[in-house]
């Protein structure tokens, strides 16, 4: 869907007030390409204009021009069946011909965008506007993405989390952190008590791991990705030591927790405590933490 296709017309989609909007920059992990998309709220009206310019001043015939607002979940593995959970369409022009550059406006009023945009390893959740000029031979299609955030209130019951982790007679620690749900710019604060240390530890890390699962059990597949690796302790503690945990989240590329989005996929984040011993062996304990996008950001 290149800008510079050899199509006889050039279609440009413009959102109203695009310049004033926050632009979200995402990256495809595998291709290392960037996507820029203006940010929209969950219920915001998507309004804009379409400019169609014929190339070289030739007239172009068409059998109609349509604009669509689409929310879709796309899978890398299986591109054949995009799952469109939203699709709205407007007719921009009846069949005819375009001689000069023409501008059409469109508006999708208060369109409900129930999910947050996502660009993951194997799955994407996209919102975009598509303009199609129908022709006899091959249609000319032009798409433009927008990005959607879902702001959530702080989930209830976010009490202090404690967990005991240990290898019998070898290692015993108690981890403790302030809550189980964090917003994206939150700080994980906690501490670790070493109640038994018989391993020769070298250091300890915290990791944040994102797990993306696609499909419905049992036919699901999942991929994980370590988003953050953060050393919290250097050297070997002795029994009775306490190590502080403080991890600022805002600097990292985290996404809110997504559970069974349209029954197609989930994205979860796990907090992992990793102990590394002298011989390089890693002992870890993972625990899911909830991440949400707070409107207070």
């Amino acid at each position: 869907m290149s800008f510079f296709s050899q199509a006889p017309v050039e279609i440009e989609i413009k959102f109203d007030g695009e310049e004033a909007r926050q632009i979200i920059d995402t990256k495809d992990k595998d291709k290392n390409t960037h996507h820029l998309a203006p940010l929209y709220g969950a219920d915001e009206t998507v309004k804009g204009s379409v400019i169609i310019r014929p190339r070289d001043g030739r007239k172009v015939e068409h059998t109609g021009i349509k604009v669509q607002f689409i929310g879709a979940i796309e899978f890398k593995e299986d591109k054949s069946q995009p799952n469109e959970f939203i699709s709205w369409a407007r007719e921009l022009a009846a069949p005819g011909e375009v001689r000069h550059a023409e501008t059409y406006t469109f508006e999708f009023k208060n369109v409900e965008k129930q999910f947050e945009s996502y660009n993951g390893l194997s799955v994407k959740l996209r919102y975009f506007v598509r303009v199609t000029m129908f022709r006899r031979m091959n249609d000319i299609v032009r798409e433009k993405d927008l990005w959607v955030y879902q702001y959530k209130p702080e989930p209830e019951g976010t009490a202090m989390v404690r967990m005991d982790v240990g290898i019998e007679d070898c290692m015993h620690i108690e981890c403790e952190y302030s809550k189980s749900n964090f917003h994206l710019k939150d700080v994980i604060i906690g501490r670790i008590y070493f109640t038994l240390v018989r391993l020769k530890l070298k250091h300890m890390e915290l990791s944040l791991i994102r797990k993306e699962s696609v499909g419905v059990p049992p036919n699901n597949t999942s991929q994980t990705e370590t988003v953050v690796r953060f050393e919290i302790m250097d050297g070997a503690p002795v029994k009775g030591e306490t190590i502080p945990i403080r991890l600022f989240l805002s600097g990292f590329d985290l996404v809110p927790t997504m559970r069974d989005v349209n029954k197609k996929f989930s994205v979860r984040t796990y907090l992992s405590f990793v102990l590394v011993d002298d011989a390089g062996r890693r002992y870890f304990k993972q625990r899911e933490i909830g991440i949400y996008r707070s409107s207070e950001e």
Partner: protein, 920 residues
């Protein structure tokens, strides 16, 4: 070295990153880029491979770079809010670089007005827990301490978040505790075979742990109360809890050194209570010695010691005042008890200074009721009677001696100390004079001075109680102290006590007893012979934690030497336990000490005046004398310090010395007996009216032994002659005769070498000639003997000379009774005939010329039978001989002698007409 190469590489890397960091800062102020470089640089500090010293090099390199970052942050804080930067650096993935950056930013933030100082401190302290590796953790926390040092709040009250002094104290102490834990943990990581290596590495690191305590002491606003309540308990608790020997010894050392002595003085109980709870392997004595030595240093540095010694001086002058009504002998007693510091002062300047002091306004006009209590409080009047008696004698003679021997080599040192103390007294008096000059009425003035004195006394009481506290403590913990430890503590405590109360020498004996320990005392009594290694049977040595051989002997020697150096030697010798302790040492050690005592006695010039002291002294020296490896000359010098107050006591002293020296065998006898004889002769002169016979017998015996045992016949001979001569001068003719007879006997029996015989004879003749008291018969006997001996000499020239010398015996110009012209002429003529018979002409001519001189002498003095004719004949004879032997070169000397004599005769003609009868 591989390690060095790696280190260089690391340093290069650090410098490279630091340069990049600076460039980012300087060029365009890209702070975030700069912190990235800093972080990369700091990741080098995560290394495992380096020793503490090498790691320190890395640390310093980073420290410098971070200083630049820190100052940039401070200057630029308006552009970048430091709270934000503080958050940003926390994204650093590794904990060590993250913390260095946090500290750098955090402390820069603290320097900005209105920064939440307390919160930053708390946060940094908390986050530093993330580094649990001992070496890296220590350095991180050291960095924390260094960076925060200048920003620690020191106010008592502040709005929340700003921080107070309490927060600072808490901060430093917490950091200290954590560092200490890491430091101790350092020991316990890795292989046990590298234990010692790690111990050494820990010693290299100790200073960065101790720096916290120094920092604490440098905080503004620390008072003794703060120290006692908020600092000391926590530090002591940590030191006790860590149970690490190195940490306990080192940290207490730093603690004691870092804080002012006054604080320690007030918190002594706390300190002692804590030291009781230390690891049993920690050398308790070191811990105690630390604090005692600290107090001693304080006393010396703050002039308190000087003031105390002045105070005791004044007390003594109080004594003086009070004792005026009492017997006169009390006064020197009081003076001498003032002990070491004032001893030298007293002995010389004391006599002059004290009367002045008595005249001082405070003394003269001070209300009685304030002085009286002072008197009763003073405990030093309860001394053993024999000791004080001994002391006052010492004192008296000391003074007289100093007057006599103003040219002694040790005078300068003494004079200096005297100068110092008299300076001090002078100052005191000046101060008084100044006071007097002010227009205030006199009564008020003296009160003022009095309050000063009272305050000083109060202070002295405080310090006195310090001693009591230590004493109580060590008495309780005796079983935990080895002999070595006890000796060390005692040494320090003795110094302390004598600085605080120079008078209270009684404590010293207690301390010596403490060092010996009851067990030793008991076994000493049961088995008097010294045991070679008594450590083994004393329970205190059986302690399992005694790991290394302690230099027990060194400690004891050092203790005893301290005693000798600080106290007058006879006070030291009067302590019974000094001797007990000494006897517990092996004989070579005892000799060393005894030698030292000897030196001290000599250098102090302390005279020995009574038998008790002398007994102790010689008992002590017995060993040295027996071993015979001392400087016998020192012993000889010692003899001259024996000075009794009566002839009787002198004899006793000398006898004692003789007995002792006799043990020493030939060498000692040879060196010391002459001194004894001379000393006895001095006494003989000094007390002309006393019963001499004992002295004379003593002299006789000493000389006899010198000849008989010592084998020094010639010396003995001379001493006999000398004694004879002196006895003669003192009018003891019989004794004198005996001495000469003894001398003759010795001459006959022992002196066989012809040269020696001739010389002995010369001595004999000259002394005999000068005697005055002999009866005619006795003199005749002795003189005839001399003449006879002269004739029996082996060589002719000796015979000749002996003959003309003995002529002197027969004709003494000053003495009518000794003028026998016939015998004179006989002698001269015999001399002539001997010379004439001698084959070697040049020698014979020489003898003639000598003889001519004698003739002239007697002629000049008016002998009736020596006439000008004798002389003319002799001259003629000489002239003839000279002509006959003109060609021989050997006659040049007698010839010129002869010509000088002739010149003399010619020159005398004018003044003495009789000389004109002589033909030259």
């Amino acid at each position: 070295m591989e390690g060095q190469a790696a280190l260089d590489k690391s340093l290069e890397f650090i410098r490279g990153q630091a340069a990049l960091m600076r460039k980012s800062l300087d060029a365009d102020g890209r702070l975030l880029v700069a912190t990235k470089y800093a972080s990369t640089m700091l990741s080098e500090l995560r290394t495992q491979q380096y020793s503490p010293k090498q790691y320190y090099e890395l640390y310093i390199a980073c420290f410098d770079a971070l200083s630049q970052l820190g100052s940039y942050l401070r200057e630029d804080h308006k552009n970048h809010h430091l709270a934000d930067i503080y958050e940003i650096v926390q994204y650093t993935g590794h904990v060590v670089p993250r913390l260095y950056l946090m500290i750098t930013v955090g402390t820069a933030y603290m320097s900005i007005p209105n920064a939440p100082v307390k919160d930053i401190l708390t946060d940094l302290l908390e986050m530093c827990r993330g580094v649990q590796h001992p070496l890296r953790g220590l350095f991180i926390r050291y960095y924390l301490g260094q960076r925060t040092r200048e920003h620690l709040p020191s106010v008592e009250n502040a709005p929340s978040g700003k921080g107070t002094l309490s927060d600072s104290i808490k901060f430093v102490i917490t950091n200290f505790i954590e560092m200490n834990k890491l430091w101790v943990r350092y020991q316990h990581q890795g292989h046990s075979r590298e234990w010692q290596k790690r111990l050494n590495e820990r010693k290299e690191l100790q200073i960065i742990v101790g720096s916290n305590l120094v920092r604490l002491a440098q905080l503004d606003g620390i008072t003794s109360t703060v120290f006692a309540e908020r600092i000391l308990p926590q530090i002591l608790e940590q030191v006790v809890q860590c149970r690490d020997v190195l940490a306990q010894e080192y940290l207490l050392d730093v603690l004691v050194m870092a804080f002012p002595a006054e604080y320690h003085l007030e918190t002594l109980e706390q300190y002692l209570a804590a030291s009781e709870r230390l690891n049993p392997q920690t050398a308790l004595y070191k811990i105690l010695k630390l604090s005692i030595d600290r107090l001693i240093r304080h006393l010396k540095d703050s002039n308190l010691a000087e003031q105390f010694s002045q105070l005791s001086l004044m007390e003594n002058s109080n004594d003086l005042e009070n004792a005026e009504g009492k017997s006169k002998t009390q006064t020197p007693n009081a003076k001498s008890t003032s002990g070491s510091a004032s001893e030298t002062h007293e002995s010389k300047a004391g006599g002059k200074v004290e009367p002045d002091q008595l005249e001082g306004p405070d003394r003269a006009e001070a209300p009685d009721q304030t002085e009286e209590p002072d008197q009763t409080e003073e405990p030093d009047h309860t001394e053993e009677p024999d000791q004080t008696e001994e002391l006052d004698q010492t004192e008296e003679l000391d003074q007289t001696e100093e007057l006599d021997q103003t040219e002694k080599p040790d005078q300068p040192a003494k004079a200096e100390s005297t100068k110092n103390s008299s300076d001090a007294v002078d100052k005191l008096q000046e101060a008084k004079v100044d006071d007097e000059k002010t227009d205030e009425p006199n009564g008020e003035l003296s009160e003022q001075t009095l309050t000063e004195i009272q305050e000083l006394e109060k202070l002295q009481t405080v310090w006195g109680s310090v001693y009591a506290t230590y004493w109580k403590f060590i008495a309780q913990l005796k079983s935990r102290l080895s002999l070595h430890g006890r000796a060390n503590i005692a040494q320090s405590l003795i110094k302390l006590v004598l600085l605080v109360r120079p008078n209270e020498t009684q404590f010293v004996n207690d301390l010596l007893l403490f060092v010996i320990g009851e067990n030793e005392v008991k076994s000493e009594q049961a088995t008097p012979e010294p045991k070679p290694k008594e450590e083994s049977n004393s329970p205190s040595f059986a302690a399992p934690y005694k790991t290394e051989q302690e230099p027990v002997q060194e400690a004891i020697v050092s203790l005893l030497n301290t005693l000798l150096d600080t106290l007058p030697v006879f006070i030291v010798l009067s302590y019974p336990h000094f001797h007990t302790l000494l006897k517990s040492q092996d004989s070579s050690m005892q000799q060393t000490i005894a030698n030292h005592v000897l030196k001290v006695v000599l250098s102090q010039g302390a005279t020995v005046t009574d038998m008790a002291a002398a007994n102790k002294l010689f008992e002590l020296f017995g060993l040295v004398i027996k071993a015979g490896d001392t400087e016998q000359l020192d012993l000889a010098e010692l003899v001259h310090l024996l000075r009794g107050s009566t002839a009787e006591s002198n004899v006793q002293l000398l006898k004692l010395a003789l007995q002792s020296f006799k043990q020493g065998g030939v060498k000692v006898i040879q060196r010391t007996y002459p001194s004894l004889v001379f000393s006895a002769l001095t006494v003989l002169r000094q007390y002309p009216d006393s019963n001499r016979s004992e002295l004379l017998k003593f002299i006789n015996k000493a000389i006899y032994d010198l000849g008989a045992i010592g084998g020094l016949a010639e010396t003995a001979f001379r001493l006999y002659v000398l004694s004879g001569s002196i006895s003669d001068q003192l009018g003891a003719q019989e004794a004198s005769y005996e001495f000469f007879v003894e001398a003759f006997t010795l001459y006959e029996e022992q002196i066989s070498d012809s040269r020696a015989q001739y010389q002995a004879l010369c001595v004999l003749i000259s002394y005999l000639r000068s005697t005055t008291g002999f009866s005619f018969e006795n003199y005749d006997t002795l003189a005839s003997r001399c003449t006879l001996y002269g004739q029996k000499l082996l060589k002719k020239p000796d015979q000749c000379r002996a003959a003309y010398l003995s002529a002197n015996l027969w004709w003494v110009p000053e003495l009518e009774s000794k003028r026998n012209d016939t015998k004179l002429l006989d002698a001269l003529q015999r001399a002539f005939s001997v010379a004439d018979a001698y084959m070697d002409t040049p020698v014979s001519i020489g003898l003639f010329v000598e003889l001519l001189d004698r003739y002239l002498y007697f002629y000049d003095r008016g002998s009736k039978l020596v006439t000008a004719e004798h002389i003319n004949r002799l001259i003629e004879h000489i002239n003839k001989e000279l002509e006959n032997n003109n060609e021989e070169s050997e006659i040049n000397e007698p010839k010129s002698h002869f010509e000088r004599t002739l010149d003399y005769i010619r020159s005398q003609v004018d003044s003495e007409p009789r000389f004109s009868e002589i033909h030259t």
